[in-house]
Subunit: 385 residues, 2 copies
């Protein structure tokens, strides 16, 4: 095990019915808050009514700002910052999935920054020094943003989708009410599950320290659970047990615990997937199942250590003990839950493949993975099947 | 899964050499701190020199208070509170194992309380409303107190050893430097390992919700790891990998994650063990291996669900699939690492057994386990072997 700092002060309020607690959670911190949400699905399933009622009953004045899109974009973030400043809000309450919360964090940082918020994302070295307090009510589990300091924003002009991490972006508190997931459709459920699994797999495989049994078993246990319960969430969307289990699993998958102590590690599948999303607006999870389908076979060929890792993973999660079988079982699970495994599944042709590879190559140095140049990424993308 | 609140803001600074960071960690919070430690073993292994040098270099004035004993006692706590008040310290820096940190928390609460500190422990209903900030430098891994709000104090007069939990007792930051464990002797290493395993087993078995695969696998993974590496720590005390892995495992075993979402649960083995320690000053971990050796066979007889839990545990951790085999494998592990499994091992005779059973019966209502009356506990203690 290697040295690390782990500090995760987000308060998690978990359980059916906990949405009603958002008001008393925010009120001690802010009298006026931006109420941020997406395209309005929360108005169809009572989440909007419950959260606004709870906040208003607690005396929190709300400045509504809606229209956050999946893969949230810089232009909408800019407008949110403008409103937050003009209205003098003291906190951001993000009600939605990863996209809404990520944009909420960007607005929180941008509202008090003395530079353009994109400077925090574009690798130019600008550092977040403070942010408005962020609260979240999670309505789609996937990215883990409800319990970490990460935020991913897409710059539509430069076609860059970039993620950053800062302790100032860590939510003060997040409400995890699994009944809020009942209305998540089957495809989004699958993409969320793939996202959570990929979060764990990134450090599981790329870690520099090879003896980390605590972290390995932590990841294996959560992944095994997710693979077991995802089909149930799809066939019985209102199954509270399955939704609860997944909701907590997805949070634990990306809250900093899994990679603590594993040494250096990186996120090649996220790098690859982000470029697909930036160009084709591919759902994040869908891009990751494609990336893993091509990256894993390449990874297995690189060393004996990698082979052993895949065998350990296969045994623990699928009960198989060979590399090809392990990769194929993972692909089978993607297909079972209907998450794509190849570019053809998302209608990307040869020209598109090259475009994605070039985009990855452009971003790779920013992600500290300069070896993922266009040519190399082309070869990875050709393995996706 | 059931509802829960998880909030663990302690900052963990982990790694070989991190002891030197205690000064810069404490300085922003306190200019004058109580420096609390035990019987002086930290003076033999350079931890005292390193911590005081780091704190002084950062400008923190130290008020030394030593002599904390294993199973820390109320009288010594009282004296510490007196000193803390008189000197006007702004924080407690506890350098030691669970006992030193637990007493540090009690002093932190007592120093700013308007009642006697024991009132927080004795079940009379007094609630902690604030406390001085607590920092810890961990020198023995076992209780998990470095990343939770628990504190256990023994009242020598009433022969009661009682634990409490409060968010105000949560350390602000804890330094986990695994090299500090190199000098932990073989017996204390074993007791620490047993303590960590027992922490996980309490909620694993007694939980009210029966479908909690995330929490089950979390516990199984950590316990399996601890059972594998403890003998190595005993034969190679300076093995950094083993000490690092165990140090993090013990913290994760009692930081609130394992029982989050499992519903109601309790700590019968701690209840039983605390009475042994209160009367015979039995090391905490040693009392727990005895308790488990008697409690598990009783537990297995109570229901089919319990049987299935034991089989699941045995399969995951020891690769055996029957109840008797599972319990015997756990006892064998206790014997291997030289932690006792029966009262005879700690020289407690028939009269002593009755005395312990009566003490448990007296404390049981305070622990919300009134069914653990003297007569019932006598029968549990007779099963220890």
């Amino acid at each position: 095990m290697q040295e690390f700092i782990y500090h995760n002060p987000t308060k998690i309020i978990f359980g059916a019915g906990t949405i009603d607690k958002i008001g008393v959670t925010v009120a001690p911190v802010a009298k006026k808050a931006m109420y941020l949400y997406g395209k309005g699905s929360i108005k169809k399933n009572s989440i909007y009514d419950k959260t606004t009622a709870s906040l208003q009953a607690a005396g929190v004045q709300l400045v509504e700002y809606d229209g956050v899109k999946a893969n949230p974009v810089l232009s909408h973030t800019h407008k949110g910052i403008e409103i937050a400043r003009k209205e003098g809000v003291e906190a951001i309450v993000a009600v939605g999935g990863g996209s809404v919360i990520d944009e909420g964090k960007a607005i929180a940082a941008g509202a008090v920054a003395d530079c353009d918020v994109w400077k925090f994302y574009d690798g130019s070295g600008a550092e977040i020094k403070s942010a408005l307090p962020v609260f979240s009510v999670l309505t789609m589990s996937a990215t883990g943003t409800e319990m970490n300091g990460c935020s991913v924003i897409t710059n539509e002009e430069t076609k860059q989708k970039i993620g950053i991490t800062s302790s100032f972006l860590q939510p003060v508190a997040s409400i995890l009410d699994p009944t809020a997931l009942f209305s998540v459709p089957s495809d989004q459920t699958a993409y969320g599950a793939v996202d959570a699994v990929t979060h764990l797999l990134e450090s599981y495989f790329t870690k520099s320290d090879s003896y980390t049994p605590i972290q390995d078993r932590y990841a294996e246990g959560i992944i095994k659970t997710i693979t077991e319960i995802t089909p149930l969430m799809q066939t019985k969307p209102n199954d509270l047990t399955a939704r609860s289990t997944f909701m907590w699993a997805a949070t634990l998958a990306w809250n900093g615990l899994a990679p603590s102590g594993v040494g250096a590690w990186n996120v090649p599948n996220h790098l690859i997937g982000h470029s697909m999303s930036a160009i084709y607006d591919t759902p994040h999870g869908a891009s990751l199942s494609i990336a893993l389908s091509g990256w894993l076979p390449w990874y297995a060929e690189q060393s004996e250590r990698n082979v052993n890792q895949l065998i350990q993973f296969g045994k623990a999660v699928f009960g198989v003990s060979d590399v090809d079988g392990t990769i194929e079982r993972l692909r089978e699970w993607f297909r079972l839950i209907k998450s794509p495994t190849k570019l053809d599944d998302i209608n990307v042709d040869e020209t598109g493949l090259i475009k994605i590879a070039e985009n990855i190559g452009k971003n790779a140095p920013l992600w500290n993975m300069p070896e993922y140049n266009a040519k190399f990424c082309e070869s990875i993308l050709r393995r996706c099947k």
